[in-house]
Symmetry: C2
Subunit: 246 residues, 2 copies
């Protein structure tokens, strides 16, 4: 005789608790990767053009079903790696989506992850589908397949909050960057403007930037100092009551 939820779970909350346990193991789980980059003062999203139905021709966020013997986080990292070749990239979970009818092929619960990649680390892969992958500006998103519009919006909201409290913005910058570039990045993410003098003072007062003794070159204005994010200094800051605060 088949086990029921009551047998297995040891408790039950619904009137239908005598349902055979097998009925519940009919879900698929997918991960969707909101891969964000930063280029020319704009935050970019990596999208894939769909080659087949449903939503053929539309673009979607890269994602895949989680394998039966694969950790969910691993699946997200796999998708990212297969697409960009990148590993050990900042990635964090955003939200799970579990509407019954959200996917046409069946009951698929998806979990959104977003990762931040530095443009100078990313080399487009020469894979069979390189033609179908491209960056779009998050300020001008095209229509996306499935519920990806919502997933992306939520991830961007998440990012806006998190970027103020954790030093994740640096993931989007080259290793060496100027304060001006950093400011433009934060302005792009948060969709605001900062006073230059005040922004620098705030950032420098956190003492998490290290002065590389290098300068910008060949720019049509006074060259800026290049800084580097100092992880150790950040650890120290974390343990103060101020902490990182945009």
């Amino acid at each position: 005789m088949s086990k029921t939820t009551e047998d297995v779970l040891g408790h039950q909350f619904s009137a239908f608790y005598k349902i055979p346990i097998e009925k519940f193991f009919q879900f698929a789980v997918s991960v969707d990767c909101i891969i964000l980059g930063y280029h020319e003062n704009n935050v970019k999203l990596l999208v894939v053009e769909r080659g087949t139905e449903p939503h053929k021709g539309k673009v979607a966020v890269p994602g895949d079903l989680v394998y039966p013997a694969e950790d969910m986080d691993a699946a997200a990292n796999r998708v990212l790696k297969d697409l960009t070749g990148l590993e050990n990239v900042y990635m964090t979970q955003s939200k799970a989506y579990g509407q019954v009818d959200r996917h046409p092929i069946g009951r698929v619960v998806t979990v959104g992850f977003y990762s931040l990649i530095s443009v100078d680390r990313y080399q487009p892969l020469a894979s069979s589908w390189a033609d179908n992958v491209y960056w779009v500006d998050v300020k001008e998103l095209p229509p996306l397949a499935f519920d990806h519009q919502t997933i992306v919006q939520n991830a961007l909201e998440d990012l806006k909050e998190r970027v103020k409290l954790q030093p994740i913005g640096f993931e989007l910058l080259p290793k060496k960057f100027t304060l001006g570039e950093m400011q433009k990045l934060y302005e792009a993410i948060l969709d605001t403007e900062f006073d230059k003098a005040n922004f620098r003072k705030k950032v420098l007062s956190m003492k998490i930037l290290e002065d590389t003794s290098e300068m910008q070159k060949s720019v049509a204005h006074r060259p800026a100092k290049l800084y580097r994010f100092n992880k150790e200094a950040y650890r120290a800051l974390e343990n103060t009551k101020e902490g990182f605060n945009l």
Copy 2:
């Protein structure tokens, strides 16, 4: 012939893309409800004692498998309602957990939700398992079944951040409360102390509290004014650049 992931998804990221689609629909999805209350200056967690293996005798956070035709959010609300009788309660998603081996009965991805309930709304249900449900202090958590320890910790971290930016603390208070009670609540959640004078000034300056013209009664000290959270006033505050801020 059976469809494969390639047929269905329109793209593929792994070397194993010719796997029949059925292989992926073997997951179960569950919801776990971190139900938090507040009593006598302490934040409390509702736990259920498990009657069967695995983890028989241990306490766990209430949860259940999501039904094949049920929205995930609906499942979380169902668990809460069946357990407490409460509906329309503040509930928000915390995080999804997708480790392969996290559950002994099979591949179960779980999503943690937390809800905040006011002790004066909650009436324990006279159900068959009322004996097995009780509140524990979050400062003195007993060992929990499965990975519930982690799930609860993460939810509490989440709460700490969110409670500073959104007026969700009021969900844990009675409809009418004193500023002292409110202060104690925030101190309990955030595990800090506030200066009484400064706390009141900050809270009152937000103008989201309404003075009921009532007072505390039968207390062995000067009776305090009773306030009520004013949702409309909060909406107004939301649209200012200050907004709600602890």
